[in-house]
């Protein structure tokens, strides 16, 4: 069964450092998303991406964040200068179409720890 793959599974970084989280969405999907979940809190939307551009972003997704689809398979989230409060589980998701109601397939997540 096709799945969304994320690497690394766990990343520890020093405050102020840049991190890149990587995702390989399901191959025939066209819509890509990043979500995050701070420990003990709900899953929060960060950004959606379609046709090589951001289609929607949340207030959390400020100038420190960027996304890219550098080739036909990878989808990355970059945090330019990490803060302690960026520590969270980051989930990549993809879906076949974006119309309301399409199920999203989530990866297993990258646990980011900022020290």
């Amino acid at each position: 069964e096709p799945e969304v793959t994320q690497t690394p599974s766990h990343q520890v970084t020093q405050m102020g450092q840049e991190v890149i989280l990587r995702c390989v969405p399901i191959s025939n999907h066209l819509y890509f998303y990043w979500y995050r979940q701070i420990l003990g809190q709900k899953v929060e939307f960060l950004v959606s991406f379609y046709n090589n551009e951001i289609s929607e972003k949340s207030e959390i997704f400020d100038d420190q964040f960027s996304v890219e689809r550098p080739d036909g398979s990878n989808f990355t989230l970059k945090i330019r200068s990490t803060k302690l409060e960026d520590s969270a589980m980051y989930f990549c998701a993809s879906s076949e179409v974006s119309y309301r109601g399409t199920e999203a397939f989530f990866g297993q997540g990258t646990r980011l720890t900022v020290v």
Binding site: Y31, Y33, F45, S55, S98, Y99, E103, F105
Partner: protein, 111 residues
């Protein structure tokens, strides 16, 4: 903006019984509500989707209802098993497929 509310208290239930979870939304009626399962340290896994004009949807031992008058969806797990123990997330789907999740309800099924 839309707010999705789920009961934050864990639901403890005996094996074989039916678990019923509640999801309330505060503003406009979403065109779709989705239910996901999340195990500790894992990503959400899609379970069921119900459209605004549908009253009920079933999949194996799972059933979802959607009541636009009450602004509520109920999620039922019938004949619950210990393997059903997880956190269940309700989400509304917005434009571009963005999911807005509730905080989730933990279900613990004891033998």
């Amino acid at each position: 903006s839309q707010k999705i509310e789920q009961n934050s208290e864990a639901l403890n239930i005996q094996e074989g019984k039916t678990a019923t979870l509640t999801c309330n939304y505060t503003n406009y009626s979403p065109a779709y509500l989705q239910w996901y399962r999340q195990d500790p340290g894992r990503g959400p896994v899609f379970l069921l989707l119900i459209r605004e004009n549908e009253k009920e949807k079933r999949k194996e031992r799972l059933k979802v209802t959607f009541d636009t008058t009450l602004k509520q969806s109920l999620f039922h797990i019938t004949a619950s098993q210990p393997a059903d123990s997880a956190t269940y997330l309700c989400a509304s789907t917005d434009s571009w497929g963005k999911l807005q999740f509730g905080a989730g309800t933990q279900v613990v099924v004891t033998p």
